[in-house]
Subunit: 277 residues, 2 copies
């Protein structure tokens, strides 16, 4: 049994490329279709209903590309939309919150886990629910902190300048006071700021990258469901709901290599300017 169709990966924009990077590095034999909803980015400042609506549209778009699996490579979309997408998707759905929560539970020695994420993710409380469900009797305490400025800092390329350090000091103070020994980078933008976050938290604090945790889950799923690509051919497709040139320009540091090239633009709400006029 094999399934040579690509894995579909979506995000509100470019953050999910840090997840795609881990998938490509760890599961290089699988084809991928990436969709970034740059036309409506970010999701982390928006409300539950809006995030669910957008995620459903993103899923439908990836389904139209005949993917064998959907990866919600956006922690905000994962926190708000996973249940709905899992209910309506025709293919398996992998998200960010449970895999990274499990990694954090495995990693912590003192039982104190910090979650840093967007405002929408924190207010949804999904990480707390996930950690409680997965703790399996282990005594875990969670400290959550919304870090909304980390997203624009990552996009501006200010990953380790003085402003990034001061912002991280301000946001991470509560986690340090709480005494966490493990921090989930609960937004797919945050791996870009890992050095700064690590500097502030200190060398004894373990940082969990959701893309790594999710890649392990995807790998297991491919085996369990006998869905590996056995064609020997691997393709990489990129779609964005905003400008293609702009996407390719800002994508590079997130993906960590020369890709993407030949990105295509799509409209996810079925609207074109011509319809208006």
């Amino acid at each position: 049994m094999a399934d040579n169709r690509p894995i579909g990966v979506f995000d509100s924009g470019i953050g999910g490329l840090t997840v795609l990077r881990e998938i490509i590095n760890r599961i290089p034999g699988e084809s991928t279709v990436y969709f970034g909803d740059n036309g409506r980015t970010p999701y982390g400042t928006k409300s539950h209903d809006t995030i669910v609506k957008y995620s459903l549209q993103d899923m439908k778009f990836l389904e139209s590309k005949d993917v064998k699996m959907i990866v919600i490579a956006c922690s905000t979309a994962s926190a708000h939309s996973f249940k709905t997408l899992a209910k309506y998707s025709k293919v398996p759905v992998v998200e960010m919150v449970y895999p990274s929560s499990k990694s954090a539970i495995d990693a912590t020695r003192n039982g104190k886990i910090g979650i840093i994420a967007t405002g929408a993710t924190v207010s949804g409380g999904t990480y707390v629910t996930a950690i409680n469900e997965l703790a399996d009797g282990k005594n875990i305490e969670v400290c959550q902190q919304a870090c909304p400025m980390f997203v624009p800092l990552a996009e501006e390329g200010w990953w380790d300048n003085e402003i990034a350090h001061l912002t991280a000091e301000k946001y991470l103070e509560s986690l340090k006071d709480f005494g966490v020994d493990t921090v989930v980078l609960g937004c797919t933008h945050f791996p870009l700021l890992a050095n700064t976050i690590g500097d502030i938290m200190g060398p004894d604090v373990k940082l969990i990258n959701s893309g790594v945790s999710a890649s392990n889950v995807i790998n297991k799923l491919l085996d369990e469901k006998n869905m590996r690509n056995e064609s020997g051919e691997v393709t990489r497709e990129f779609y964005t709901s905003d400008d293609v040139t702009k996407f390719e320009a800002i994508a590079a540091p997130f993906l960590g290599e020369g890709l993407p090239k030949g990105t295509k633009k799509v409209s996810v709400d079925g609207f074109s300017v011509e319809d208006m006029l």
Copy 2:
């Protein structure tokens, strides 16, 4: 002759409330309908085509509320969409770029004007075009600087802390080197950071608030076209494309008073979650 219909005001989200505040303060006898496209905010990181498409939808929504005038209370939308909206709107359209450019030309003594704005506004070059068109023989030099981090700083409420100051120092260095004596706050979020921007630029540099400049244009237009509200009744309506409670919570500091209350949620792309399922 009178026209008792409201003035329609739209923005990508909450920044335009700094414009609405000036309209309410300076033209208190006019009713207003405000639409914030919080479901797709911000526009300042997006491409020309996307900004035009969204602005047309915003205009159509306001037209459905039977407004007598449309105010594009978002500098990014003004810079990219004014010509298209002016072409297709059934009512007069007031935007931000030309009024604030005119104010800057009138204010400058040394002929050196700084423009600070979103990335999309700066790359569109509309301020440079507007100032050249309006200079009327006056010798004007323009220095533009994109300040993308000012938008999330304004929304995070970090208006005058150390991080805001460091960010402003970094962005405004080129304007200081250029020797500008006048700076256009070319994004409707930026009036919230006016104290910090003023501290960095120094007391001799004049800051231009687009909402003030646009209110003067609106006032003139109401007289010229005999469209003042003479009913004696004034209404304030607020609509958002994202969550109402959230809008009302984040709107207060931008609007500078207790309003809005009783905001209504609308969908501007005609899509509902139910359609998907």
